[in-house]
């Protein structure tokens, strides 16, 4: 079925009949695949299809179990990521590959510091600043990675890769944690590199990005290539169908408008230093979206609400003021929060699926002793419900594919059966097929009479899911939109702080 | 004699029973001397290791302007130069118990006799055991003074036909001695006597023997004159027939004699060797200090 236009020039980097197994389980089944200079090649597939594994093999971070990696037609002369970088094959990893205790500059130049016997701090700092400027990023070169929000960390990853002067640049879901504006910056860089003749490999679950960027698309399903296509040959629908193996319906559930009693009321809520004076109400059966730029304080607000950050102001549940000083208290009040930072705050990467799934609700699994039977049953249910693809149930969560980690995190949050659930970036890195499942799930929560807050930087997602949208800017609520007035245009204008009257044309954020 | 004088006292810290006793005697003597001679001031420092002791001595000279130093060297060799430096600075030096490696530095030397300690013990074994008797030995912390004692002991029993089955380090520690003795008892079917070489170790040894129910088989000689042990000797405990004195009170003697130098014109130069005597039921009473913690 695959019918891609044959390229005449020789590929730069190539996989020939590559297979990869982890233990007894084969993940990749004979992949053939080539990257050409001056071309953006997109690799798409469901969560766990093997995209990251392919990228790691290309970048020298994993060795194929069988098959060959060829650079310029010859066997690739590298056995590690570091050696690959030395010959110009650079990877932006899906998992962050930054040392948390080091600063932005130190990370960007790690392994290739400037200076002779002594480090040339000034030059490295200037170099970093230049890179960040190029990326239009306000990150300070001296910030420690530990202190940066995820989106900024991703920008640092990108800057680090750009600094590597690549011949081949492999990007594993670089846009997943970025906002539209940052994605635009990224795309400009990608286009610049393509023009310079760099061979690029790109993956994303946002199919519109693929349509826009890719000169060539390879569709992966369960570790095998099922389709290759040139630019314009596949519509987004076509890609989704090829990935999932079945036709996808409209991914957003129909809107409901039957909100019930007020479940949560927030009055004059401030989370120092940024978030000030937030008030809103949330009804039963309602999905409330919160939109805003990166750094507008959405995460801080959410973390304040569930007691993870010191906050002032009032929280009322069912009209009664409650004290929420910790996640435990929040849970006791029926409130749960799903973090946007699954690596640092969400999952124990070196523990197995069960331990992670039940961690926040362990009290429900037995009284004195943990009932591992019930835990296993819960995992089986979660695997089914959220379509978690794990080769083995007892594997470390860190070895799950990125999207499956996110699904597990969702399952973990939902296990507590919360009445009010705040989901920060619910579908980061989740494939289109599963996205609709998650949307349906969120919809079902609301239909059951629960209240959901969705924080998302994905505009269609916010619009498609929410009954009502709060827009935050600079730590304050910039406006509230619902019903007729809930349009992309209106949200964008509030997000950007553009005057309501100026009927602007800001289409992209 | 109204002139103020500061006497620095540097001794090892109370890391085992004997040193505990020595600390106690030092503090008692200081309290007593301070009360008697108001013009005397004392600086007491205890050290857990050689380095710390040298530091203490330096500090006393540099900041407390001591006129005299009473020192019980943790080890002889490394303290020789630092103490010599004190002497060279014109201070009075009293050395207690362990001599310096270079003779003639100290003005006054008050000491127990480690060689005698081992010899007296060995002679008792030789006199009270038949040829072919089997004994086990517990040694202290590996140090020169432990070597001196053990060498003298071995020399004293030489030719007696007494067989030393085992010699392991009990580190002058009850717990360690207890487990070493337990292992000896598992290992050796016949043991006729134990030289525990220290009363703290003897206590651990006794417990191990009691546990094995072999009290009747062997007797024990410890050393240093811990009050509980002296009591047993006085009470004619067959397990503890004798003890060997190595009095921690020697520090008090040294302090008193040194103090005399500053409160009177009594010439006090010289060497006072407090020999190690065999403590038997007959003379035990004169070694018994029920108030001492040791």
């Amino acid at each position: 079925m695959s019918a891609a236009p044959e390229r005449v020039d020789a590929p730069v980097l190539e996989l020939v009949d590559v297979r990869k197994s982890f233990g007894p389980i084969e993940i990749l089944h004979g992949i053939d695949f080539a990257l050409h200079a001056g071309e953006v090649h997109a690799l798409i597939g469901e969560n766990g299809a093997g995209k990251s594994t392919i990228m790691k093999i290309l970048g020298g971070f994993l060795a194929p179990t069988s098959g060959a990696v060829r650079l310029d037609g010859k066997p690739a002369p590298y056995a590690s990521g570091a050696q690959a970088e030395a010959v110009g094959v650079v990877v932006i990893h899906q998992e962050f590959n930054l040392a948390p205790d080091l600063t932005v500059t130190e990370n960007i130049f790690l392994g290739r510091e400037l200076g002779g016997l002594f480090l040339d701090h000034r030059a490295m700092r200037a170099g970093t600043q230049a890179l960040l400027d190029e990326l239009d990023s306000p990150i300070r070169p001296d910030s420690r990675i530990r202190d940066l929000p995820v989106s900024d960390r991703q920008m640092v990853e990108i800057a680090k890769a750009l600094a590597r002067k690549a011949r081949v640049l492999i990007m594993d879901e670089p846009s997943a944690v970025l906002t539209h504006k940052e994605v635009e910056v990224l795309f400009r860089q990608i286009e610049r590199l393509r023009a310079q003749g760099v061979a690029l490999l790109y993956t994303s679950h946002r199919l519109e990005e693929i349509t826009r960027l890719a000169d060539r698309v390879t569709v992966l399903r369960d570790g095998a290539v099922v389709r290759q296509a040139g630019r314009g040959e596949l519509t987004e629908d076509g890609m989704a169908t090829a990935m999932v193996g079945r036709k996808l319906e409209d991914i957003y559930p129909p809107k409901r408008h039957h909100a019930g009693a007020v479940a949560l009321e927030v009055r004059g809520f401030s989370v120092p230093p940024l978030v000030r004076d937030i008030s809103f109400t949330l009804r039963r059966g309602e999905v409330l979206g919160i939109s805003g730029l990166v750094g507008s304080g959405r995460t801080e607000l959410a973390e304040g609400l569930v007691g993870l950050r010191a906050a002032t102001g009032e929280i009322l549940r069912h009209g009664v003021p409650v004290h929420v000083g910790s996640v435990r208290e929040a849970a006791a009040r029926g409130m749960a929060y799903l973090t946007e930072d699954r690596k640092e705050h969400g999952l124990l990467l070196d523990k197995n699926l069960t331990d992670n799934l039940t961690l926040s609700t362990l009290a429900r699994f037995g009284t004195v002793f943990i009932d591992s039977g019930r835990e296993e049953a819960a995992l089986t249910r979660a695997i089914g419900e959220f379509d978690i693809r794990a080769p083995r149930r007892d594997m470390k969560v860190g070895n799950l594919s990125g999207g499956n980690q996110q699904k597990l995190l969702l399952a973990k949050t939902m296990l507590g059966d919360p009445e009010v659930v705040i989901i920060d970036e619910p579908t980061r890195g989740i494939d289109v097929g599963t996205k609709s499942q998650i949307y349906a799930f969120i919809d079902a929560l609301a239909a059951e009479g629960r209240s959901v807050i969705v924080i998302s930087s994905d505009m269609p997602e916010i619009l498609g899911l929410s009954d009502r949208v709060l827009v935050m800017r600079h730590g304050r609520i910039a406006g509230e939109l619902y019903g007729e007035r809930l349009t992309e245009n209106a949200v964008v204008r509030l997000v950007m702080g553009t005057n309501e009257q100026t009927s602007g044309s800001a289409a992209h954020v | 004699q109204g002139k103020k004088a500061v006497i620095g006292v540097s001794i090892p810290s109370a890391t085992h029973g004997y040193m505990g006793g020595l600390n106690w005697h030092a503090q008692q003597a200081i309290t007593r001397l301070k009360a008697t001679y108001p013009n005397l001031e004392f600086v007491l420092a205890t050290a857990g290791n050689v380095g710390k002791q040298v530091n203490d001595i330096e500090d006393m000279v540099a900041t407390r302007n001591i006129d005299a130093l009473v020192v019980l060297p943790f080890e002889s060799e490394p303290l020789t130069s630092p103490v010599k430096a004190v002497k060279d600075a014109g201070k009075w030096v009293t050395v207690v118990d362990r001599g310096l490696s270079q003779p003639g530095i100290e003005d006054l030397y008050v000491a127990g006799d480690n060689t005698a300690f081992g010899r007296v013990s060995g002679e008792y074994f030789k006199a009270n055991l038949k040829s072919g008797a089997k004994i086990v030995v517990l040694r202290g912390i590996p140090t020169t003074l432990d070597n001196e004692r053990v060498d003298a002991f071995q020399a004293a029993i030489a030719g007696s036909g007494i067989e030393i089955l085992d010699m392991q380090h009990g580190n002058w520690n009850r717990d360690k001695a207890f487990s070493v003795m337990q292992d000896y008892l598992s290992k050796h079917k016949q043991i006729d006597a134990v030289w525990a070489a220290d009363d703290d170790m003897a206590i651990g040894v006794m417990e191990a023997i009691a546990q094995a129910g072999r009290q009747k088989e062997m007797w024990i000689v410890g050393g240093a004159g811990m009050k509980e042990m002296i009591k047993r000797v006085m009470d004619k405990d067959p397990q503890i027939p004798v003890d060997v004195s190595y009095t921690p009170g020697q520090i008090a003697t040294a302090l008193e004699v040194t103090a005399l130098r500053f409160v009177s014109d009594t010439p006090v130069y010289g060497r006072f060797i407090i020999g190690s005597t065999l403590i038997t039921p007959e003379n035990a009473a004169q070694f018994y200090f029920p108030d001492s913690p040791f």
Binding site: T339, F369 | D183
Partner: protein, 345 residues
């Protein structure tokens, strides 16, 4: 359509495999986990080869009973280390508790008289003192947020010097008559098994169960693995951390309750270097020093390895006793080499 069948069967396979639940490799402890056990077995074999009395009931009882103090403490230490902490103070704490306990019993003697109530009072005091000491460490770590290394280095010095001070530099001894009554708690036993061994076994079993089958153990691992994640997962991180120190304090108290009847005394040297031995036992047993993974049964093996080395060195006249430390060091390292595969995997 033929190209869709392959992935679908593949997916079904995957699902089946996943459903097949914890696989063999995870259920069996695996070579890495068996490392210390192997080392223990080798040591036992060596001991039996070197000395026929090695496997005698008497020697086995001795070794096990001696291991009991460090053993109980090491079980508590496993939880502290698993949750990312450390406690250097346990040895001094044991000495301090022993001192306090003996002084208290001697003081209560005139009013209570020699009898079981006095012993029980002493035990209660020891456990109470252990609890308070552990609480102190725990509060300094969790509330004052000081590095555990520093907190417990500080309290190590404090406890040690307090007991020396209480003992006036010498030894604190339990009244003779009381001791006679108390002695059997160390020396006697049930069905021929000494009490310390029984208590240690119970502590070890309870510890293993607590680590694997209770929330507390699970939370300790979670906190040690990533305390931020634990915090976001509604785990009361501070309380669990505090509890590990309190538990350890209690176990030090319990160890002291078993220790005092042995020699009936405490001094400034009691429990010297127990902390190092306990930590070493924990690490030899396969618990990660950085936290996140605890293995109580491994700790028990670690403790046994350490006390067997001493036992064997004395039973066999291998070399100069000066070199005991060398052999000890070599065996410790070798015991861990046997589980090297773990970190290299």
């Amino acid at each position: 359509m033929s190209d869709t069948t392959r992935p679908d069967t593949a997916r079904a396979d995957l699902a089946k495999q996943a459903a097949a639940a914890p696989s063999l490799t995870a259920r069996l402890p695996g070579l890495s986990a068996l490392g210390p056990l192997l080392a223990l077995i080798l040591l036992v074999a060596l001991g039996a080869y070197l000395n026929e009395n090695f496997l005698s009931a008497g020697n086995v009882t001795n070794v096990l009973a001696r291991s009991a103090f460090i053993g109980m403490i090491a079980v508590g230490m496993t939880f502290v280390i698993t949750s990312g902490g450390l406690d250097l103070s346990v040895g001094s704490m044991a000495a301090f508790i022993a001192g306090v306990m003996i002084l208290a019993m001697n003081a209560l003697l005139p009013t209570m008289g020699v009898g079981v109530p006095l012993i029980l009072a002493g035990m209660a005091i020891a456990l109470g003192a252990g609890l308070l000491a552990g609480l102190g460490n725990g509060l300094l770590v969790t509330k004052a947020r000081i590095e555990p290394f520093i907190v417990t280095l500080g309290t190590m010095g404090i406890f040690r010097s307090l007991v020396t001070w209480l003992a006036d530099g010498g030894t604190i001894s339990l009244d003779f008559a009381v001791r006679q009554l108390y002695r059997p708690v160390y020396y006697s036993g049930l069905f021929g098994i000494a009490w310390p061994i029984i208590v240690f076994a119970l502590v070890a079993i309870a510890g293993q169960i607590a680590m694997r089958h209770t929330r507390f153990g699970r939370y300790c691992e979670a906190i040690g693995s990533n305390d931020k994640v634990a915090l976001y997962s509604a785990v009361n991180v501070e309380r669990i951390r505090l509890m590990t120190y309190v538990l350890l304090g209690l176990l030090v108290g319990l160890a002291t309750v078993m220790y005092v009847p042995r020699l009936g005394s405490a001094s400034g040297t009691t429990g010297m270097l127990w902390e190092l031995e306990a930590i070493a036992a924990v690490i030899i047993g396969g618990t990660a020093l950085k936290g996140g993974y605890g293995r109580v049964w491994g700790t028990v093996i670690g403790v046994l390895i350490l006390s067997l080395i001493d036992n064997i060195l004395i039973l066999a006249d291998l070399v100069s006793p000066y070199l005991n430390g060398t052999i000890q060091g070599v065996i410790i390292v070798l015991a861990v080499v046997l589980q090297r595969s773990k970190s290299s995997a």
